[in-house]
């Protein structure tokens, strides 16, 4: 094991190298990230033996990954913002064809207006495409989750997306503990999956699903992602035994005896943790949850964690225009609706298009959560930092 300075991009690239990936397809131009640049370097230097295909678009990148994955290869790709949007229709095929592709998505805003900065509006529209979705908060977690992703994907035959915040995580250097490559390869041995396009098998792949069959075919992939909850829990447990770092589907911070809780996703969790620590020093009973595994949504864990909580603030970094609430808020409300003890849930939106969410913003959010909890009803969504 060695401790090195890596940014989020390189942490993912190192994980891909250690996972001994067989095939990478990526569109190399904007909005691509240094993840695949680093991987191509590894391959060019002979440090990773893999097929690297420069394709002409993200639509082709994910399509090539599906083809390669069907041969039983271990497959990786990376993208960001408009690139992910361009993959949209093919993402559904990847999950329904049950291809265990692992993809890193560096979260950035979608146009218009053109904006290359960080928020969650690229990945949120893809939450219903049948992929397992992880959201990480540090470079270390990006590395670890990428390793876990290969294990989970290949166990349940579903694609896994790792979301890491653009720039504030993808381009910021942090200390990362890199395990020995042998240990990683022992943990995720490259066992060839069945080659479904072998001429010996004569399988027909990518079939027509008429009304008599489409429902059953889709349900099969739905059942797989529901079933993946067990695999994810086991992988989390196993991983902490082998590598010493523990992750849950929901990462909790100061949740014991917490009365007012903020729910976040991604790298802003770091700032929020700092604020929680500060408020705790002043005797405030505040806590923090960050949703690490967004799909499948850890509904039962969330209900349990919020059992004795009075007020919850949900911070969204993406919009659902015209919807009943913004994406994470809607999911949290839905999860808690049938819970015995339901806290007051306040919606916040902030940090769109790379706008910073500052320490003071988090302090204000906690104040509002406390205020609405005492009043007994939430306010309409509060847009943090919006000039009005």
């Amino acid at each position: 094991m060695k401790r090195v300075a890596l940014n989020g991009n390189y942490a993912v690239a190192y994980a891909v190298k250690m996972a001994d990936v067989d095939f990478v397809a990526a569109y190399p131009i904007t909005p691509q990230t240094p993840i695949v640049e680093k991987i191509s370097e590894f391959i060019a230097n002979g440090e990773l033996e893999a097929e690297y295909v420069n394709v002409e678009s993200e639509h082709s990148a994910i399509s090539a990954c599906i083809g390669a994955s069907l041969t039983g290869a271990r497959v990786f790709t990376a993208t960001s913002s408009q690139g992910l949007a361009y993959m949209h229709e093919v993402l559904f095929m990847a999950s329904s064809l049950r291809t265990p592709i692992v993809m890193a998505n560096v979260n950035r805003a979608l146009s218009h207006p053109l904006n290359i900065w960080n928020d969650h509006s690229d990945a949120m529209p893809e939450r219903d495409c049948g992929w397992i979705q992880f959201w990480v908060e540090s470079a270390q977690e990006a590395f670890d989750t990428t390793i876990q992703a290969f294990k989970i994907a290949e166990e349940v035959l579903l694609p896994v997306m790792i979301n890491l915040d653009g720039f504030i995580l993808s381009h910021v250097y942090e200390a990362v503990e890199l395990p020995d490559e042998e240990l990683v390869r022992e943990y995720i041995p490259s066992k060839p999956l069945i080659n479904r396009v072998s001429p010996k098998l004569s399988y027909t792949i990518g079939v027509v699903g008429p009304p008599e069959y489409y429902f059953e075919m889709k349900y099969q992939a739905l059942e797989a992602i529901e079933r993946s909850r067990n695999n994810i829990n086991n992988v989390n447990k196993e991983f902490s035994k082998v590598f010493g770092r523990k992750y849950g589907n929901v990462n909790e911070h100061m949740m014991e005896d917490a009365k007012y809780v903020l729910i976040t996703m991604g790298a802003v969790t770091g700032t929020a943790k700092f604020v929680v620590n500060e408020l705790r020093k002043k005797g405030e009973k505040v806590g923090l949850l960050s949703i690490r595994c967004f799909r499948p949504f850890p509904k039962d864990e969330i209900i349990k964690l919020l059992e004795d909580v009075k007020g919850v603030g949900v911070l969204d970094r993406a919009l659902t225009p015209g919807g009943p609430g913004h994406p994470l808020y809607t999911d949290i409300c839905c999860a808690l609706y049938n819970a015995k003890n339901r806290p007051i849930i306040q919606s916040f939106v902030g940090g769109l298009g790379g706008r910073d969410i500052l320490i003071d913003d988090f302090i204000k959010m906690f104040e509002i959560v406390k205020e609405v909890s005492e009043e007994g009803r939430p306010k309409p969504c509060i847009y943090i930092g919006l000039r009005e």
Binding site: L97, Y203, T204, I205, Y213, E216
Partner: protein, 95 residues
């Protein structure tokens, strides 16, 4: 019909050649009728039929397997001696 558990993973078709099990009888609007007295056994309809619905019997005569016939009428067009006619499967609706 198969349940979701019985369908192979990823909705693959893992038995090759299983289109023989697929009956398309209900797709048809027109049905080909072969007049064996006119047929010269030239085999053109057999060549042109896109569905393989025309069978050659042991005695060298031809027969149309209506389970696979979608009623496209290509056999009728290909027949030089007009041994095949297309007739409506159902009476035309009066409306």
């Amino acid at each position: 019909m198969k349940t979701w558990k019985e369908i192979p993973i990823g909705a693959m078709i893992i038995e090759p050649g299983n289109s023989v099990e697929f009956d398309v009888t209900t797709w048809r609007v027109f049905r080909p009728i072969l007049d064996k007295s006119k047929c010269t056994k030239c085999g053109l309809c057999w060549i042109y039929c896109p569905e393989g619905a025309i069978m050659i019997k042991e005695d060298g005569s031809y027969e149309i397997n209506l389970s696979y016939c979608k009623g496209c009428g290509i056999c009728q067009k290909s027949c030089n001696v007009k041994a095949i006619t297309m007739v409506r499967e159902y009476e035309e609706s009066s409306t």
